[in-house]
Symmetry: C2
Subunit: 235 residues, 2 copies
DNA sequence: TGTACATCAGTGAACGCGCGTTCACTGATGTAC
DNA sequence: TGTACATCAGTGAACGCGCGTTCACTGATGTAC
């Protein structure tokens, strides 16, 4: 109990567990989430299918582990981008660009993991609560960047008609969660930029841009430039 | 050949074919695309599973029929919204709002059909060319509304830095496809609004807004108001 | 109009497949005395 | 340090399931003469 030296058994257990996850990830990349199969995973690993049950109580638990892993991986990429630009003193707009690019880059590198977390929900699967924390990492990285800009006084005020009262209410919840000091109008626009970002990435990763846009890079850059402006992030 | 009076056989064929499709649609709504099964469909219809092969050569062809149906249904909803507001002389901005609401309304009413066409691609399924036409109907309805505004001279010019040359190239293809007379800057922004719209709807339909936004209606209204402004659609 | 043949919708059995999960077991690792 | 027992990873057979697709068939509908 609380022992710092793990036993051989414990070490083996951690390793095999990681191998199963890794193989599952590999198969996810080929076949997609709904056809992920415990049997196929263990087969590839050269073990009996029943052995998997020593590590994951059911197929859904394996799926959950993959989802958590994906959220964490994406979240880490976004956080790293946000932190690096904070350290190097980038402008809010540059930070926004860098984080957006990191998110898109991750999605393109891991299309099936992206689909797993931002695509259509897997039928019959209900994501348990423990996915909520990892899921919010990306979002908090983006929100943090806006908060930082606000605190540094570098946020352009939002022009245009005042927010509808109902919208002020909606935004209030978000403010408390992630953007304490940011004015409601800016938060409202940040929500729009947020959905635009993932809409753009989803269209690209899911092939919706085919036949319409050839160079998705260029269109992405334009989109984040426009939306950075909409939010009021200054160069 | 070319006979206008269909035989009893032909009429029965059309009816059964429609029944299979309808039942497949019903099951899609419960279980999602990847677990759509020919056997389950025919079972529910009280016929032998092999009978389905008189109507659809394979499961994938059934899927394709459902996809085409979904695209057409959504496309029609968007076109109807666009036409009705054209007839009643709505402003470009009002037309934009109405079409966006129609698209969102359809998605909320038919979440699984929405997921089928805008969610993660079904693994192993390759959409055949005949889906392209129906798929472009929504997009063309949106593009048409911008074109109309341009022709009527009611499009606000886009402020801000000039488009990057690479972006001008990208936009040129879109211009020829769907927005002949519209200036490149506006088309570029229309692309951003387009991905924002579907990003917002996907987040809502796929449950990504849960725990962040309670009243999706209000946030949606705000989003299309902001993006209508970004594109330059006047009230 | 009546008959002979062709077409084709629908049947039911069968093939071969892969899946998730359970269970009694063996043998290696860990632990208490 | 050595022994006896407990823990637990991994096995292999089995259960019951549902799937897509094929095939030879029956019987009703359609068509040519």
């Amino acid at each position: 109990m609380g022992n710092t030296i793990p036993t051989a058994r414990a070490r083996a257990r951690a390793e095999v567990s990681a191998e199963i996850l890794a193989e599952a990830r590999r198969q996810l990349a080929v076949a997609g989430a709904s056809s992920l199969s415990l049997r196929a995973v263990t087969r590839e690993l050269g073990m009996a299918s029943s052995a998997a049950y020593r590590y994951f109580p059911s197929r859904d638990d394996l799926l959950t582990a993959l989802i958590v892993e994906a959220y964490d991986s994406l979240g880490e990429a976004a956080e790293r981008a946000a932190d690096s630009t904070a350290d190097s003193g980038g402008s809010p707009f540059e930070r926004w660009q860098t984080v957006c690019r990191a998110i898109r880059g991750w999605a393109i590198d891991n299309p099936h993991e992206y689909a797993l977390i931002y695509g259509s929900p897997v039928p019959g699967y209900r994501a348990p609560v423990l996915t909520v924390g990892p899921a919010s990492r990306v979002t908090l990285a983006l929100a943090g960047l806006v908060s930082d800009a606000q605190r540094a006084g570098t946020l352009a005020p939002v022009a245009g008609p005042p927010l509808a009262p109902a919208m002020v209410d909606q935004v209030e919840g978000v403010r408390q969660l992630a953007m304490e000091d940011v004015p409601p109008d800016t938060i409202a626009r940040a929500l729009v930029a947020w959905t635009q970002l993932f809409g753009q990435i989803s269209f690209e990763v899911f092939g919706q841009l085919q036949g319409i846009v050839e160079n998705a890079d260029v269109v992405f850059e334009h989109a984040i430039a426009v939306m950075g402006g909409v939010v009021g992030l200054r160069h």
